[in-house]
Amino acid sequence: MQVKLEVNGKSCEATVEARTTLADCLRHELMLTGTHVGCEHGVCGACTVIVDGAAVRSCLMLAVQAVGHSVVTVEGISLPEGLTDLQASFRRNHALQCGFCTPGMLTTAHALLTHEPDASEERIRDVLSGNLCRCTGYIPIVQAVLEAREAYRPKS
């Protein structure tokens, strides 16, 4: 069936089956391959996207369920050139190695800091606990998100 989705601020059309997950639709129909699929059962968090402002597992959501909602992927929180403050903080802190979990970490952190730019270290850890990383040991990721908070605070 044809579905109309709003992805990264743009209206898109895709042909999906009723069983197609949002992750597969984003990756294989809309060719937004920044969203990664690591477990397909909602544990690893690599496929996290932002739906109406909330971090959501796109492997646990069907594409048809996204109709009428705003979806933002890692591509949607990137600039045409260079890195955002959040991404630059990840790079500076060596908060990624293989890069596979990174898009999910970024979308999760972006959703958190958009709502809670003063999130404590404990809160950041708690929210990131739904995203698995096998390379870094998490410490640099938490540090990167902590350092990125400033960029999400209202400019005085």
């Binding site: 391959t33 990664h36 544990v43 898009p103 040991g137 998490y138 938490v142």
Partner: protein, 779 residues
């Protein structure tokens, strides 16, 4: 390849030693990485591998009629289509003739030996349709008795022809243990075990194969770790010359030893592409990964030590048993071999004899996982050392320090492992120095007072352990440097990236070797059979040492070629040309840039390039010490790691940030193996932990208190960089150190720690058992 310019305006030379931000990061952070499943080809089919649902059985029949009747399903491939006997997957490392009988067929022919063994491949227009097809397959397997444990009377043989489930017994030997043990003033024997767990990279495996019938040429995307070796295997199996196959690595979502070995799918997907005459993609799902990708660890050991009552270690002997699962794969006995060889660790033990018996069971085959065998054997040894220290009333630190290999002992020979023979030598180092450093950073003297104390309902314990990390295995690694038409230098290497920052580290090495800036490098081209004639790849912590040294070695002839190409432009002799910052200068100050040289050269046929290799069979040995402070809640069995300090000497640090990341990541993986990760099978050989809901990986909240310190006091004499393999050291001592800290915490309760994992349930049960016993004694 998308490259982010590194801001080198302020970077001084050399680049090696600087924590330069990674080149790879730009594409990864923007969601522009190219992992296997991100790639598509026109007319591509999708493969699903149908796997055995029984652990042991006779394969009677496969009926594909209903599957083939589904719209969108194109083919079902079984052993019959390939031709029986189907190819076997040969051992790559530590080959032994008597083990060939245990090699895995690329698809089950007459028997299945583990849950997850491939029995058919369904090709369809989409992954979902291929799964629909797989569901329609009617597979008839007659069950056979299942072997899930070693020893006792085996209910069945996995391989009738060999007549045994014990594949081989290896022996590491040095000196004469038995005589020493007979005369020893003190001996102690204990039994230890480490559970089955696995590397578990975040990106599942995947392959995309494309057969060009006109050119008789096969292209495989998704290769990694050892593409040249895998090409050799595949070419032999398919009856093609090696030159007819290209293997190409893409971005790789973690390897840790498991990804990139030759698996059944490496043959099956290539075969399918040729069979279907269309590109075929296969991407593993997580449940499949848990069943099909190499498992690891799963070893137990009776270990016995002989020493004086003052704590001088005289000898070490033991017998370990490893459960290798259903087949011996590419590197199947490497972990077993390592258990034997490095059981003595960094200690000066003159007399050693460790036997390791390798057992076959109806489980997923075991392969290498970061620190293979070393993680297990370090747990056995370090735990035994603490038990002995407590028994003899020795200070744990002094006991270890007094027995460490001394810098004056270098090179120190490790035990020889039979039946291969041949030895390995520790290359350099001052093992007492990293121990002292760790004690200082940890503040051992202050924290000793906490040991065994019950504070707010939790028992506190501390421990420290020492380790060795063997790396940089030989024999060679290849590199090619080429001046591209735009004047930048292409660096082509036989090394592979498994997500560890190889492009950045090699950029630093190449820039220093050629005296050019990162923007003068066209790319680090790695992980492909197209780039160098001979390549070995990424295993045994060898990329930086072997591949990096190959770049250094090849830089010399490359610079000669540049000089020769520049000389006619400068009107001088080649030996009058000096090179600096991508500019060639003549004797009178005239200059040409690399770009001008390239433009001039582009008019001629042959490019300016040099290819060569770095060869060494002498391994590097990084070393260090880890210390930890834990608190154990006896009511729940939960352990908090309050502090964890790691100190390592890696000879020479190329990029402190990526090195730090390797150590930190490895430690947390090790902590996962100590507390959380366990692949559990039932008596039918069914995997009970086949999802991330049951197989627990460390999360962001679990281990926030880890401090890592890297030293470069003792460069390796075995390579021009002075570097040592450093990707695995972080994981090696974790089991021993944590277990000793937990045991030390629980000493007041007299709870013995002999097994991993130290999951809350298991630890709580051990504590409850002891309390129950002591309550029984009291009444």
């Amino acid at each position: 390849m998308k490259r982010d310019p590194i801001d080198t305006s302020t970077a001084s030379r050399p680049l090696a030693g600087q924590a330069i931000e990674r080149i790879e990061d730009l594409r990864f952070l923007r969601g522009e990485g190219q992992y296997l499943d991100d790639l598509t080809l026109p007319h591509m089919l999708h493969a699903v591998v149908v796997r055995s649902s029984l652990a042991h059985g006779t394969l009677r029949s496969i009926d594909a009629t209903a599957a083939l009747a589904l719209p969108g399903v194109h083919a079902v491939i079984t052993a019959r289509d390939i031709g029986i006997p189907v190819p076997r997957i040969p051992m790559r490392l530590d080959v032994l003739d008597e083990l060939h009988a245990y090699e895995q067929p690329v698809i089950a022919e007459h028997k299945v030996r583990y849950v997850g063994e491939p029995i058919a491949v369904v090709l369809a227009d989409s992954p979902a349709l291929a799964e629909d097809g797989a569901d329609q397959l009617i597979v008839d397997i007659e069950p056979l008795p299942v072997v899930t444990t070693r020893g006792g009377e085996a209910p069945a043989l996995l391989f009738e022809d060999t007549g045994r489930n014990l594949a081989v017994t290896l022996r590491a030997v040095r000196g004469e243990v038995d005589a020493i043990f007979r005369a020893a003033p003190y001996t102690r024997r204990e039994h230890f075990s480490v559970q089955r767990h696995a590397a578990m990279p975040m990106e599942p495996r995947g392959l995309l194969a494309f057969w060009n019938a006109e050119a008789s040429h096969l292209t495989i995307l998704g290769a990694c770790k050892v593409p040249h070796a895998n090409r050799r295997v595949l070419a032999g199996q398919l009856g093609l010359p090696e030159a007819a196959i290209d293997m190409q690595e893409n971005d790789v979502g973690g390897g840790f030893g498991a990804r990139g070995e030759f698996y059944p799918e490496d043959y099956l997907i290539a075969f399918a592409a040729r069979h279907a005459r269309r590109p075929v993609k296969w991407v593993e799902d997580r449940r499949e990964h848990l069943l099909a990708t190499n498992h690891a660890r799963d070893a137990e050991c009776d270990l016995e030590i002989a020493c004086t009552r003052e704590g001088h270690i005289l000898a070490l002997r033991g017998h370990a048993h490893t459960d290798l699962g259903a087949y011996i794969r590419t590197n199947g006995v490497t972990p077993s071999r390592n258990i034997a060889q490095v059981c003595c660790g960094p200690y000066r033990i003159e007399h050693v004899q460790i036997d390791v018996s390798v057992h076959m069971t109806n489980k997923t085959p075991v392969g290498t996982y970061r620190g293979p065998g070393r993680f297990e054997t370090d747990f056995f040894r370090e735990r035994l050392l603490d038990i002995v220290a407590a028994d003899l009333g020795l200070d744990r630190v002094a006991f270890r320090r007094a027995n460490l290999v001394r810098s004056t002992d270098m090179p120190w020979s490790l035990p020889v492992v039979m039946p291969w023979g041949g030895g390995s030598e520790c290359d350099s180092g001052d093992y007492a120095s990293t121990l002292a450093h760790a004690l200082r950073e940890f503040d051992w003297d202050a924290k000793r007072a906490l040991d065994g104390q019950l504070i707010d309902g939790r028992y506190h314990g501390i421990a420290i352990g020492c380790y060795l990390e063997g790396g940089a295995s030989g024999p060679r690694e290849g590199a090619r440097l080429r001046l591209h038409d735009d004047g930048r230098v292409g660096v082509y290497v036989g090394s592979s990236s498994i997500g560890q920052g190889l492009e950045t580290v090699f950029t630093q090495i190449a820039c220093d070797a050629l005296d050019i800036a990162p923007e003068d490098i066209a790319g680090i081209f790695h992980g492909s059979t197209r780039y160098v004639n001979e390549g070995f790849g990424a295993y045994s912590s060898r990329s930086t040492v072997m591949g990096g040294s190959a770049v250094v070695v090849v830089a010399a002839p490359f610079k000669e070629h540049i000089r020769a190409a520049a000389a006619p432009l400068l009107g001088c002799a080649p030996d009058q040309v000096s090179l600096a910052r991508a500019i060639a200068s003549g004797p009178h100050g005239e200059t040409v840039s690399f770009r001008q040289i390239a433009e001039h050269r582009a008019q001629r046929a042959e490019p300016v390039q040099a290819e060569g290799h770095f060869a060494s069979n002498r391994r590097t040995y990084s070393y260090g010490a880890h210390a930890t402070h834990v608190a154990v809640d006896p009511g729940t069995g939960r352990v908090e790691v309050i502090d964890y300090v790691a100190v390592e000497d890696v000879g020479r640090i190329i990029n402190p940030a990526t090195l730090h990341g390797q150590a930190l990541g490895a430690i947390v993986q090790g902590l996962g193996g100590v507390f959380l990760e366990h692949l559990v099978h039932d008596e039918h050989g069914q995997l009970l932990t086949a999802s991330f809901a049951d197989y627990l990986l460390p999360g962001a909240c679990d281990f926030p208190n880890i401090r890592v310190f890297a030293l470069e006091e003792h460069p390796s004499p075995n390579n021009p960089l002075g570097a040592k393999g450093a990707g695995e050291g972080g994981i090696i001592p974790v089991g021993g150190v944590i277990a000793n800290a937990v045991a030390s915490a629980l000493r007041p309760l007299n709870v013995g720690i002999h097994e991993l994992p130290l999951s809350p349930a298991k630890l709580w049960a051990s504590i409850a058992d002891v309390r129950h016993e002591s309550a029984g004694t009291a009444s």
